[in-house]
Amino acid sequence: MSSLPALSISDAVARRLLLLGVALCCLSQANAAPRVELTAAPAWKGWTRPGRTTEIDVRLSADSAVRASLDVVAARQSTDSTVELQPGRVARLQIAVGSAASVDVEARAPSAPPVRRGVSLALSESPLLGVAVASDERVALDGFHALALAADDLPRNGSAYASVDALIVDATTLAALDHRQLAALVTYAADCGRLVLMNIDQRVRRLLDDAGGCGGRFMMQAKSLAEATSMLTASLATSLPAALSPSSIGELARPSPAAWNAVAVSLAVYFAAAVLALVFIPSLPAIVLTSALAIVGTLALLQGMYPRSQLIVWSEGESGTQLARYQAVQRFPGLVRERVRVPLPPQLGAAAQSCEPGQTMHYEVDVTSGRATFAEFETRLFRQVTLCYSGSFPMQRTIAVDARADGSRSVRNAGTRAWPRGALLAGGVARDLPALGPGAATVIDARSGGSAGDSALRTAQTRTRSDSTAALWSLDLAGVAGAPIDSTGWLLVSVAPPR
């Protein structure tokens, strides 16, 4: 009898010890979980315009070394990146996002609860004027909504400059920009963005002079805000050259009909086999078996095909300038219903976005380069998911054209690089333009003209004023890393009419 209470006490102690152990275990688990801090701030003080791209500046930190994943979701587009966090260090990422009323940012780390932040964006119907100047002076430009910006409000992705329609930057702000912000600003200038630089010194001026697209017509320099405003007002009289739409670029090269041909042939074979089966074995099992074999065969054929993407690039520049603007479309043909993950060309990935706003798209962003490396989306048979890219590249084409009395034109390569064979567009007529070395000249006979035969020439003619001259060349895209085999591109260089 005396042993029973002793047993009961030891049982209670054991239970308490067990509870203590569990508590300590949970405590140690709680201590092991890293604490992740997340802040997210939009560029342009949260302003953007419907259908444009902007940027979210994300800061991530943790109290212990941990690998965190960051998801940014804006409407139907999402991005994810993996960040190696070190204690005491703040990781910064700038993610380009499409315009949406709200953007959700979420950071996840192993054994830590997810941290979420919501970012609200203001969608302006009026054009936006960014004013990044050190003074507190207010600026008013008719029809524009002016935003007073600090250096940190300017984005680091060139594509995020789509949010503003004009920008004034002074020397103080320019000096405060980091190298990624400067690169994005140069991209904006190269993309013919309206930009007024205030009080910049000669050295910077010389550097930026070469960076302005459209012959530098939309990059201006002013000494005061009043002068900057009046220059912008005058500049608004000249409209920006409209970019070629993705559908127009898509028309330059037809999609590959390989999948369609395979499906058509397999259906034809099926119907032939079904008729033969009906003639020789008119039984229900034979009909069912023919159908089943046709389904299996067709699906196996589609699974065995390798869908090749297609890249189409259209670029434009002005003779003698340093940069050409480009717009590109990459088509990804689908064969079966599946979710695919495709690599993006590294030189184009920084400005990748879905051509269709309604398309659900997921991007993987490389933290170090800040560019999208992979895109992931749902596809299906005959579906052409398209990604759009835009930007600029260095160009060296200087064309000297002299109209002669007999109607012919003397064309001279006034640059330092040789040209390949192309086409000369003048007076609504396309003529063959032979390859010319530096300094070489040729005479294009007025009678040698013909109507534009292919879609690239037709597009070039619609992009060239009837009273001006332009030259069209095929682009060699072999140098574009990661470009698909099926890549085509064109460069249209216009010659400014003599003044």
Binding site: G250, A264, L284, I295, T298, R380, F382, Q384
Partner: protein
């Protein structure tokens, strides 16, 4: 009507329907591909029309053939009408955004109708005292059932509610 010619006629009709659907689907998807448009909408239309056409033919065929040649003949003829379109439907589904369960359910209903409706024909054969009245009555019942399918489809838009 004996079982074999009825089944051959039904299978030929099924093949003809499937071929017409295939030509329509291939033509419209080719146009969509060339224009850079989405071929999904056309594919969904093809799925819907394929179901509707067979849902109209199956009752008439199943009831009439079963009334004249028995349940096995009726079911065989109805299934021979339904099955030949399946390869086209699988491809159209692969090109559409329609959920798989909807397509499977729709085809399951057709197969179910092909197996059940011949019983109506067999019942008519047994119920009607005059042998020469079986064929017109069975045909009329089949047409009524087809009309019901048309009305139900028109009101309910089942099974493809994309």
């Amino acid at each position: 009507m004996s079982a074999s010619p009825a089944r051959r006629f039904a299978a030929l009709s099924g093949l003809a329907v499937a071929a017409a659907l295939a030509v329509w689907w291939l033509g419209s998807t080719r146009l969509a591909i060339d224009r850079g448009a989405d071929a999904g909408r056309t594919s969904e239309d093809v799925l819907q029309v394929a179901w509707l056409v067979r849902a109209l033919v199956v009752p008439t065929l199943a009831v009439r053939v079963a009334a004249l040649a028995g349940w096995r003949a009726g079911a065989g003829a109805a299934l021979a009408m339904v099955v030949p379109a399946w390869p086209v439907l699988v491809l159209a589904w692969a090109a559409s955004a329609a959920p798989l369960w909807q397509v499977v359910l729709a085809e399951g209903l057709l197969v179910g109708a092909a197996l059940v409706l011949p019983m109506v024909g067999r019942g008519l054969r047994r119920a009607l005292p005059r042998g020469d009245a079986v064929e017109p009555v069975a045909t009329a019942v089949g047409i009524v059932l087809a009309a019901a399918a048309w009305i139900a489809h028109d009101r309910w838009t089942f099974p493809y509610t994309f």
